[in-house]
């Protein structure tokens, strides 16, 4: 098991290495060079030359890359052009919001998606199945940001839910970890906890749509596959109760591919978060990224792109490892 884990970790290293080269090259391939892009409208030839020297852009490319890599490993991505603060500091401050939102979204997607997919497969061809299929197909066809606006427009007022930000104006909650719910629980400010939950509901559902649709469909397809497996027939031939057949034999095997899907979708959440957080002014990494795009804040974009990709790689690694835990066939390989 440990060997499996170590090997999987080692496998990720070349990917991360190439990733760093690409992200490094990305900033260098900006039109007019990075200095011009960083200076934006204020660029004059002298200023560009000066900044090139300050940033070490007049040095050989290898020196530049290893400098970048070294700084990146210590978390130094330079300063944001928008806030003039270190980008890494921004990421640390905004990350908890995105984790909170992403986890809530994934919990929603899993809690609804797996039962929906399972029921759909069990009653294949029936009314439930058809409704689930249609909804899951529509789920991936709706632009996430539009769905967000619709929720604000249609649902927020009747449900009494806030549609902007993470915290009600005037609520003076103590921030310790920046995880709003956690902070509220730690300080015992229960109104802050409730407020944080209310602010999470709409954006989390918006962010959950695509993972929800995907998880539902994968669960359905996978359970259908398993239902046709010989070992399910064996389980029935043993006279096991339906409940045991369903949970121990069908679901347990049917959920294996779903684990991978959950992992992939978790890794991809930052993509959806850019849109959702922008719509709901939910100040997390996605918001930071959307703002960075609008203001062409390249240091911030570079850091966030690398961060998003690294998270994705690591999440995938975790998925592989957890797959090894639940599927004995993978473990021995």
């Amino acid at each position: 098991m440990l060997r499996f884990l170590v090997r999987r970790l080692l496998q990720a290293i070349p990917t991360l290495f190439i990733l760093s080269i690409l992200v490094f090259a990305w900033l260098r391939s900006l039109p007019g060079g990075p200095a011009a892009a960083l200076l934006g409208d204020k660029a004059t030839p002298e200023k560009i030359a000066n900044l090139n020297h300050v940033l070490g852009l007049d040095q050989p490319i290898f020196v530049q890359y290893f400098g970048f890599l070294g700084r990146a490993l210590t978390g130094d991505f330079g300063n944001s052009l928008v806030s003039t603060q270190p980008v890494m500091g921004e990421i640390v401050t905004f990350l908890p919001a995105t984790i909170e939102l992403g986890m809530t979204a994934m919990i929603i997607a899993v809690i609804i998606g797996i039962p929906a997919g399972y029921l759909s497969a069990r009653y294949r061809g029936g009314a439930v199945d058809n409704v689930v299929i249609v909804l899951s197909l529509i789920g991936v066809a709706v632009p996430v940001f539009f769905l967000g606006y619709m929720m604000q427009d249609i649902l927020a007022a009747p449900l009494g839910l806030p549609s902007q930000g993470r915290q009600a104006a005037g609520l003076d909650a103590t921030a310790i970890t920046n995880f709003a719910i956690l902070d509220g629980i730690m300080t015992g400010e229960w109104d802050a906890v409730w407020d944080a939950i209310k602010h999470l509901i709409l954006p989390a559902f918006a962010l959950a749509t695509i993972p929800l649709a995907v998880i539902t469909r994968i669960t359905r397809a996978s359970v259908l596959d398993v239902l046709n497996e010989d070992f399910v027939r064996t389980a029935n031939s043993k006279g096991l109760t339906q409940q045991v057949v369903r949970t121990r034999h069908v679901l347990r095997n049917g959920l294996l591919p779903v684990v991978t899907t959950i992992g992939l979708q978790t890794g991809a959440l930052l993509g959806g978060a850019v849109l959702t957080e922008r719509v709901f002014n939910f100040r997390g990494l996605g918001f930071l990224l959307a703002e960075g795009i609008e203001r062409r804040d390249y240091p911030r974009l570079q850091a966030l792109l690398l961060f998003g990709a690294v998270v994705y790689v690591l999440v995938n690694m975790l998925v592989d490892v957890s797959y090894g835990i639940i599927d004995p066939r993978v473990r021995v390989r």
Partner: protein, 331 residues
Amino acid sequence: MALLEVRDLTVNFVRRGERPFAAVDGVSFDVEPGQTVGLVGESGCGKSVTSLAIMRLLARRGNKVSGSVRFEGTDLLKLSDKDMRDRRGRDLGMVFQDPLSSLNPVIPIGLQITEVLERHRGMSRKAASLEATDLLDKVGIPDPSRRLSEYPHQLSGGMRQRALIAIALACRPRLLIADEPTTALDVTIQAQILALLRELVQDTGTALIMITHDLGVVAGLCDEVNVLYGGKIVERAQRHQLFGEPRHPYTHGLLASIPRLDAGRGEKLVPIRGSVADNIPWDGGCAFAPRCPNALPVCREVSPQLVPDHGGLLRCHNPVRPAVAAGGGTR
């Protein structure tokens, strides 16, 4: 009273937009306690579907089952789902063809045995575990207590089939159905598994329905043999009768197409022409007629009935005569 009385069992495959197709067509046979009965035929002849229909393991969707399957006087086809679940694994056990795919890949072998014991014999997990060790030992798996915690992929093909047999026999059912239990195995392992089955059946007095396409398996195991073609029984005979004097041209063909060591050098293997793929339903003539060397004009017009013949049953207008059988190079 026979242990199992199958009467007029018919399974129709009903698919949307297609004509219903009778995969099993009016099959009747008995199994006495302790008796071993063979169901023989090529793939597609309906032998597996028959066994699944008896066990009520066919999907309800797309399969219409009629007739009756009396087990100790109770018609299994009329039982509620729940009552049937109570009987499966306890009164009737089943062993399948492919032991790898028939075992759950992500659950240890031990649990796959103990769950039956817990279900039908109300054992505690601990007692079931001891019993499972015993069972594995009985089916010839070495070091059984260690095997309990292993997964199917860690076992060899023969071991897996032994484990599957242990599962099927865990609650000492009175009837065991074995559906091609040796087909997926190596030849040497096949012989071991057959020997094991014979031994277990004799020791426990379990009746056995052996489903196979391999007449070699039948020769070593079965008391009575039913030959199926196109969903119908075409010949039934005691083992010696069948091998000594096959009456149906199809049975004869099956026997003639087996390579034999004692055949003369110049003697050719005689394959049956065609395959079941060009199989057509029985209405209007004998389904085997297009492939039959003995076919008469009447065979393509009138569907033959199953009639008593030489102490068995036969469905043929123009059966093989003993002399012809001898000339054909069989016993």
